[in-house]
C-alpha cells in the first residue's frame, strides 16, 4: 500500500510575513510527512500557523508572506521555490486541490456552478467543454446532488448543497492530495458529521490523501490516520493518531486533550492552560510553549527544540480497545512518532496519569 517515499514531506519550514516595520515568524522549523492514502490532521489553536502552512503548500501566501527557509517535497520533488505559475501548471488542482474554510460563500454568485467547473478544467486540463461537463455531471451524482442542477446558480443551493459542490470541485481533476482548511468549522454539528463522514466515504473508491486543518482535536482523532499538533508556529508533536492518543509526549498535547470537553465524561474537571500563545515577532529560538508550560525548565528557552523520535511504547496500546472495529486503528508503524519536548521522558508518567484517569472514568460508566 505505501511506497517508501511519502506523498508530501515538509522539512524545517519557516514562513515569515513582512509588515511595514515588523516581521512575523508565522511558522518556524515545521516538519511533518503525509503518506500516500492517509489523512493527516493539523491541529492547533488560532494563530498557531496551521493556515499559513496550508497556503504555503500551494504557494498562495498573501503578498507580504514568503517561505524563508525549509523544503516541501511532493513525491520527492522540491516545490517550495516554484513560482506561482510553475506550481499552477504542474501541481495545482491536478495533484493538489483545496477545500476552503467558508465553502458557503466560495462559489461565485454570478457564475453557474457548471461554469465554475468548466473554467477550472479549461485552466488545468485539455478536456473539451463537453467532456468537462460530462465528468462534472457524473461527479455531481457521486456527491449526492441532482445532476440536472449543475447549471443552477449558487444562490439556488442550500448550505449543505454548496458544501458538497465544493467537495465535488476539489475531486474534479482526481488530485492525489486535498488540503481542507477547517472544512467543518462553520457548520452545525449534524451537517459537520455528514460532511466528515462523506470525506471518509470518498477515500474508499479512489487513492486520496488529505491534509485536514482544524482546531477541533476530536475531529482529528476520529477522521485522521496521523496528526501534527502545532503551537506558536512550531510543530509540538507529530505521529499516528493512535500513538499521540495512547502515548502523548508533549505537555501541550496532553493538556489540550484534557482541556477538550468530552460529552462522555461530563464531570471531569476541564484542564486549563494558562497564558496566551506567544506573539511571533522575534526569532523563535525557544520552545513556544515554554511560558505556558507548568514543567518548563531554563533549557526549554535555549534554542528551538528539534523533533526527536519517541522510543517504542508498551505493546498493547493503552487507553482504548485492542483494535477498533474496522482494524485501521492499530498503529502500523508507518509514521514515526516525534515530539519537540526535550523532557519527553518525564512526560511519559504525566501521560500515564492522564490515561489512568480516563480508564477509571470508562470503567465507572460501564
Amino acid at each position: 500500500m505505501t511506497t517508501d517515499e511519502p506523498l508530501l514531506e515538509v522539512e524545517g519550514l519557516d514562513v515569515e510575513y513582512e509588515l511595514t516595520n515588523d516581521v512575523i515568524h508565522a511558522v518556524s522549523d515545521a516538519s511533518f510527512t503525509i503518506q500516500e492514502n492517509r489523512y493527516l490532521g493539523l491541529v492547533g489553536e488560532s494563530g498557531c500557523g496551521k493556515s499559513t502552512i496550508a497556503q504555503s503548500l500551494i504557494s498562495a501566501l498573501d503578498s507580504n508572506g514568503e517561505i524563508a527557509s525549509g523544503t516541501i517535497r511532493f513525491r520527492g520533488e522540491e516545490i517550495q521555490d516554484l513560482t506561482e505559475a510553475e506550481f499552477k501548471n504542474e501541481y495545482l488542482w491536478n495533484e493538489i486541490a483545496f477545500i476552503p474554510q467558508s465553502a458557503m460563500n466560495s462559489l461565485d454568485p454570478l457564475m453557474k456552478v457548471s461554469e465554475q467547473a468548466t473554467k477550472i478544467a479549461k485552466e488545468h486540463t485539455d478536456w473539451s467543454k463537453e467532456e468537462a461537463l460530462d465528468r462534472f455531471r457524473e461527479l455531481f451524482g457521486v456527491v449526492g446532488l441532482p445532476e440536472s442542477r449543475i447549471d443552477d446558480y449558487p444562490h439556488q443551493f442550500s448550505g449543505g448543497m454548496k458544501q458538497r459542490t465544493i467537495i465535488a470541485l476539489a475531486l474534479f481533476l482526481k488530485p492525489s492530495l486535498i488540503i481542507a482548511d477547517e472544512p467543518t468549522t462553520a457548520l452545525d454539528v449534524i451537517m459537520q458529521d455528514q460532511i466528515l463522514n462523506y470525506l471518509q466515504e470518498i477515500r474508499r473508491d479512489r487513492d486520496l490523501s488529505m491534509l485536514m486543518i482544524t482546531h477541533d482535536i476530536s475531529v482529528v482523532f476520529e477522521n485522521c490516520d496521523d496528526m501534527a499538533v502545532m503551537h506558536g508556529g512550531q510543530v509540538a508533536e507529530t505521529g499516528s493518531v493512535v500513538d499521540i492518543y495512547t502515548q502523548p509526549r508533549h505537555p501541550y498535547t496532553i493538556l489540550l486533550q484534557r482541556a477538550f470537553p468530552d460529552v462522555r465524561f461530563r464531570d471531569r474537571k476541564l484542564e486549563t492552560i494558562e497564558g496566551e500563545p506567544p506573539v511571533l515577532h522575534e526569532d523563535m529560538d525557544f520552545c513556544s510553549f515554554a511560558d505556558r508550560c507548568p514543567w518548563a525548565t531554563p533549557e526549554c528557552r535555549q534554542g528551538s527544540p528539534p523533533l526527536e523520535p519517541v522510543p517504542e511504547g508498551a505493546e498493547t496500546p493503552r487507553g482504548g480497545g485492542e483494535t477498533a472495529a474496522d482494524g485501521t486503528r492499530v498503529d502500523d508503524g508507518v509514521v514515526t512518532h516525534r515530539t519537540s519536548c526535550i523532557r519527553q521522558e518525564e512526560m511519559a508518567d504525566l501521560a500515564d496519569a492522564h490515561l489512568d484517569e480516563i480508564e477509571a472514568k470508562r470503567t465507572l460508566t460501564e
Binding site: 509588515l19 511595514t20 498573501d62 503578498s63 507580504n64
Partner: protein, 309 residues
C-alpha cells in the same frame, strides 16, 4: 422577486459599499493616516485656507472694493506688477486683495452648508438606522427621491423665485445635499446597534438617548468629521457654479463671484491674472477636502484587507 425586495437588495448593496467601520481608534491608524503625503497635503492646505479665511482681511494690502488710482486715472486691467501682485480688475480693484478677502465668504458658505448637511444627515441616519423598519424604509425612499433632484436647475428655480439671499441659498443647498451622507450614517448606525456592547447597555435599561450619546455617536466621530469635510468641498463647488450663473449676491466677494465678474468682463481669456487665481483657490480648497477623505478611506480598506499600507 417583487419590487420591494429589489429596492432592499440595492440598498443592501449600497449599504454594503458603505458598511466599512470607519472610526479611527488606535493611534497606529493615525500614524498610517499621516504617513500618506497626499493626505498631509490635504490637511495642511485645509488649515492654511481656514486661517486665510479668518485672518485674510487683515493681511490684504488694499480693501477689496477700493478702486486703485495712479496719477488719478483708474488702473483697469493692469497685469501683475510689484504694486499689484496679481494685477487689477475691470473696476480697478486689486485682484490679490480681493482673492484674500474672498476666502472668508467662500469658507462661510462651505462650512455652514456642511454644518446643516451633517446635522440633517445625522438626524436622519440615526433615526433610520436606530429605529429601522418602516421609518427606515420611508426615509431611504425619501433619500432616493432627493437623489433624483438635479441640484443646479433646482437651485436656479429656487433662487429666481425666492431671491438671492446669502443664507437662504446656504439653507437650500443644506436641505438637498444631506442625501449623500445620510445613507452612510444610517448603515453605520445599523452596524453599531448590533454590537454586543450596545445590546448589553440596552439590556441594563440604558435609555435611547443615553445609548446614542454614549455608544453610537462616539464611535462615529471619525466618519462625521470626514463627511463634514466632503460636504464643505461639495458646497463650495456648487456655490461657485451658482455664482458663475449670476445667481449669488454679487456684493459678497466670494471666489465664485470673482470668477463670474472676470467671465462677464468679456475679456476672460486675456485677463488670465484675474480669471485663474479664484478658480485655482476654489479647486485647491475642494481638492484638499477630498484628499482628507481619500486618506481616511485608505485606512479602512487597508485595515479590512489586512494590507499594511
Amino acid at each position: 422577486m417583487h419590487l420591494g425586495s429589489t429596492i432592499k437588495y440595492i440598498t443592501q448593496l449600497l449599504g454594503k459599499l458603505d458598511r466599512r467601520s470607519p472610526s479611527i481608534r488606535s493611534n497606529e491608524q493615525l500614524r498610517v493616516f499621516f504617513s500618506d503625503s497626499l493626505t498631509v497635503f490635504g490637511v495642511v492646505s485645509l488649515l492654511l485656507l481656514v486661517s486665510l479665511a479668518i485672518f485674510g482681511p487683515m493681511l490684504a494690502p488694499y480693501s477689496y472694493d477700493e478702486a486703485q488710482y495712479q496719477d488719478d486715472e483708474l488702473v483697469r486691467f493692469q497685469p501683475p506688477s510689484t504694486e499689484y501682485l496679481l494685477g487689477t480688475t475691470q473696476t480697478g480693484n486689486d485682484v490679490f486683495s480681493r482673492l484674500i478677502y474672498g476666502a472668508r465668504p467662500t469658507a462661510v458658505i462651505g462650512f455652514s452648508t456642511a454644518a446643516i448637511v451633517i446635522a440633517i444627515a445625522l438626524a436622519v441616519g440615526l433615526t433610520a438606522g436606530y429605529l429601522g423598519g418602516r421609518v427606515d424604509e420611508s426615509l431611504m425612499r425619501l433619500v432616493d427621491l432627493l437623489y433624483g433632484v438635479p441640484l443646479i436647475p433646482a437651485a436656479i428655480m429656487f433662487i429666481t423665485f425666492y431671491g438671492m439671499g446669502f443664507w437662504s441659498i446656504i439653507l437650500f443647498m443644506g436641505i438637498i445635499l444631506w442625501r449623500g451622507s445620510s445613507r452612510v450614517f444610517r448603515s453605520e448606525v445599523m452596524q453599531l446597534k448590533q454590537r454586543p456592547y450596545v445590546q448589553v447597555a440596552r439590556s441594563f435599561g440604558g435609555s435611547r438617548p443615553y445609548i446614542v450619546g454614549r455608544h453610537i455617536i462616539p464611535n462615529m466621530m471619525g466618519m462625521i468629521v470626514l463627511f463634514f469635510a466632503l460636504s464643505v468641498g461639495l458646497a463650495v463647488l456648487i456655490s461657485a457654479g451658482l455664482a458663475f450663473l449670476g445667481l449669488m449676491n454679487p456684493f459678497i466677494p466670494s471666489w465664485g463671484i470673482m470668477l463670474q465678474n472676470a467671465y462677464n468682463s468679456g475679456r476672460m481669456l486675456e485677463v488670465w491674472w484675474w480669471t485663474f487665481p479664484p478658480g485655482i483657490m476654489i479647486s485647491w480648497l475642494v481638492l484638499s477636502t477630498y484628499l482628507v477623505g481619500r486618506g481616511y478611506e485608505r485606512i479602512q480598506e487597508g485595515k479590512e484587507r489586512g494590507v499594511q499600507l
